[in-house]
């Protein structure tokens, strides 16, 4: 199942615009040799020929399209530091290097389940790509997809448009400026008892505290739940051991796993949240 890319792909920015304050949608044209990322996989993105930012930055795929002469990959990202700041300054034609697709993708369960997606903040990105995958793959076309999407406030709710076209989307904002007032996990908690663990599959991506809360909520329940976690990365391919997160191994013993290789997707019950 794991696919390995053969080299760094040379891309060019086709567009890069600010959707809402500090949130950018960037479309990158890439060679046909780039494989289609599976839901949950990510790419390492770097500005070509620059040493600042120095390392690539991991970004999830928001949309991916094959064309006759190239492929295009869309990224949706929030400016949080220097790396994303520099990315946000890229303009039409600027050169970027892209490494990927990387990481362990979501396991796609057989289509006899309800799909619940829980997205906090930029977690919406892999969730959207996953929902798109379900919808476009024959098997998933008739599945019920419910998406819970949370953000700090209505203005920060970005990227949910595409989600809305393919799922029943329920929105929360921390300040109540749109949808449910509170955390997205609280919104989901209200509905939790309506889902049957044997007929439901949960997928989640968001800030660590949100995921932790979800883990607590699901602790004694038997829902299958896969989450995509984030960690600072250097190589993205598993050689530097820089991106580890603590997980329980098969015997329940604590050990570190590479988010870029054994992750970013983990079963929520395997993760250790201390």
């Amino acid at each position: 199942m794991m696919t390995v890319c053969k080299a760094v792909a040379a891309g060019n920015v086709a567009s890069n615009r600010e959707l809402i304050d500090g949130h950018f949608l960037m479309n990158v044209k890439l060679p046909l040799s780039l494989e289609r990322p599976l839901p949950g996989q990510f790419l390492m993105v770097r500005i070509r020929g620059r040493r600042e930012p120095f390392l690539g930055r991991p970004l999830s795929v928001y949309e991916f399209q094959r064309h006759v002469k190239n492929v295009t990959c869309e990224f949706l990202y929030r400016v949080v530091g220097k790396g994303t700041q520099f990315l946000s300054q890229l303009r039409l034609g600027d050169a970027v290097d892209v490494l990927g697709p990387l990481g362990r993708p979501f396991e796609i369960y057989p289509p006899n389940r309800k799909i619940v997606l829980i997205a906090g903040g930029m977690g919406i990105v892999p969730m959207t790509y996953l929902a798109g995958h379900y919808r476009s793959s024959g098997a998933g076309r008739n599945m019920k997809i419910i998406c819970y999407a949370g953000a700090q406030n209505a203005d920060a709710l970005v990227g949910i448009e595409r989600m809305q076209t393919c799922s029943d989307t329920r929105i929360s904002t921390d300040d109540g400026s749109r949808g449910y007032s509170g955390l997205v996990t609280d919104l989901f908690a209200r509905d939790l008892r309506t889902y049957d663990p044997r007929e439901t599959a949960i997928f989640a991506c968001g800030p660590r505290p949100m995921m932790k809360q979800l883990a607590v909520m699901l602790k004694d329940k038997s829902f299958p739940c896969q989450v995509s976690v984030e960690e600072r990365m250097a190589c993205g391919v598993g050689v530097c051991l820089g991106c580890v997160t603590a997980v329980k191994d098969d015997w329940g013993k604590r050990q570190y796993k590479r988010v870029c290789k054994e992750g970013p997707v983990f079963n929520i019950q395997d993760l250790i949240w201390d």
């Binding site: 760094v8 120095f54 690539g56 600072r232 250097a234 190589c235 598993g238 051991l241 570190y256």
Partner: protein, 314 residues
């Protein structure tokens, strides 16, 4: 102009002959599995694997890395699967390539170094040992082994006794006089020295007022440290006669050539791999191109060729 195919690039490290001077630096190439789909190992001078200890080590808690200007800090904490698992699970894969395998060795006591070296020497497919002496010496209260010439002499001697493989001693830059340490290693029988390991550094998150590295400090690598590494290779080259492997911030063929000019016989590419998995190949190709346009038939003629008298008109 010379033909690139006629250029001699072989480098001798003790009894081991590398076909060319380019290899990855330990800890930036894993155990050689991940990069096999990017790099043709048959073309590399050697593969250097992640540091190995006697028992498996879990390493430090995250965050382990942070970017800095022109480089990065890491505090992996010597996570590794242990020397036995390495031999059983990783070495067979590497053995299929026509490429020397150099095992990086790590210990918390002199005895551990000796033991790991002994075990590796019995394994088929390991061609040399690189002794990482930038490790905290548990017996001496965590001060790194590599900062004291006597300790370095001791470790080097003991490891030499435990193995008949060529021994490369990898030096720490966090010292007042690296040449003195290199001489110690040479005197104790080291077949080569490699330098530099990372410089200890720090980075702080001013919002939370915590270190950006859970371990508090980390090792600085990348082009930021290249000038320091070059100077240290130059200082060591003036004092030792064994081969030197230059390491530190090599991102391009030009960087590598700088190291050769100040006296390195071979070079290791570290952090560059993390940014560009093809870095070792690109650098090897570029060195050859430089030798070609510079009309250098044997790479040995480049090594240590720095002109110290500088004509004013360049």
């Amino acid at each position: 102009m010379v033909n690139v195919r006629d250029i001699k690039t072989a480098v001798k490290i003790g009894s081991l002959v590398l076909k060319n001077p380019v290899m990855p630096a330990s800890g930036t190439f894993g155990y050689g599995e991940e990069f096999a789909s990017f790099v043709d190992y048959n073309l590399l001078g050697a593969i250097v694997v992640k540091g190995l200890s006697l028992e498996p080590r879990a390493g430090n808690p995250p965050p382990r890395i942070i970017e800095t200007t022109g480089g990065m800090l890491n505090a992996i904490g010597m996570e590794n699967i242990g020397v036995h698992a390495f031999i059983k699970e990783k070495l067979p894969f590497l053995a299929q390539f026509n490429c020397a395998v150099i095992a990086n060795v790590y210990g918390e006591t002199v005895e551990e170094y000796q033991k790991v070296a002994e075990i590796l020497s019995g394994a088929k497919g390991v061609h040399a040992l690189e002794i990482n002496i930038s490790c905290p010496n548990v017996k001496k209260g965590g001060i790194a082994f590599g900062t004291d010439p006597d300790t370095v002499h001791d470790i080097t001697g003991k490891v030499k006794q435990a193995t008949n493989l060529p021994v490369i001693v990898k030096l720490s830059p966090n010292v007042t006089d690296i040449a003195e340490i290199a001489v110690s290693a040479q005197d104790a029988g080291a077949d080569a020295v490699s330098l530099i390991n990372t410089l200890t550094g720090m980075s702080v998150d001013i919002i939370s007022r915590t270190s950006n590295i859970a371990n508090l400090t980390g090792g600085l690598s990348g082009p930021a440290i290249k000038p320091i590494a070059l100077r240290m290779v130059w200082e060591v080259a003036k004092k030792v006669s064994i081969p030197i492997i230059g390491i530190g911030g090599i991102m391009s063929p030009e960087d590598a050539v700088e190291f050769l000019i100040v006296g390195a016989s071979a070079i290791q590419v570290g952090t560059a791999n993390l940014i560009n998995p093809l870095a070792t190949m690109d650098i090897l190709e570029g060195i050859l191109a430089y030798l070609e346009v510079s009309d250098i038939m044997d790479i040995k003629d480049l090594v240590g060729s720095l002109k110290t008298e500088r004509p004013r008109e360049e």
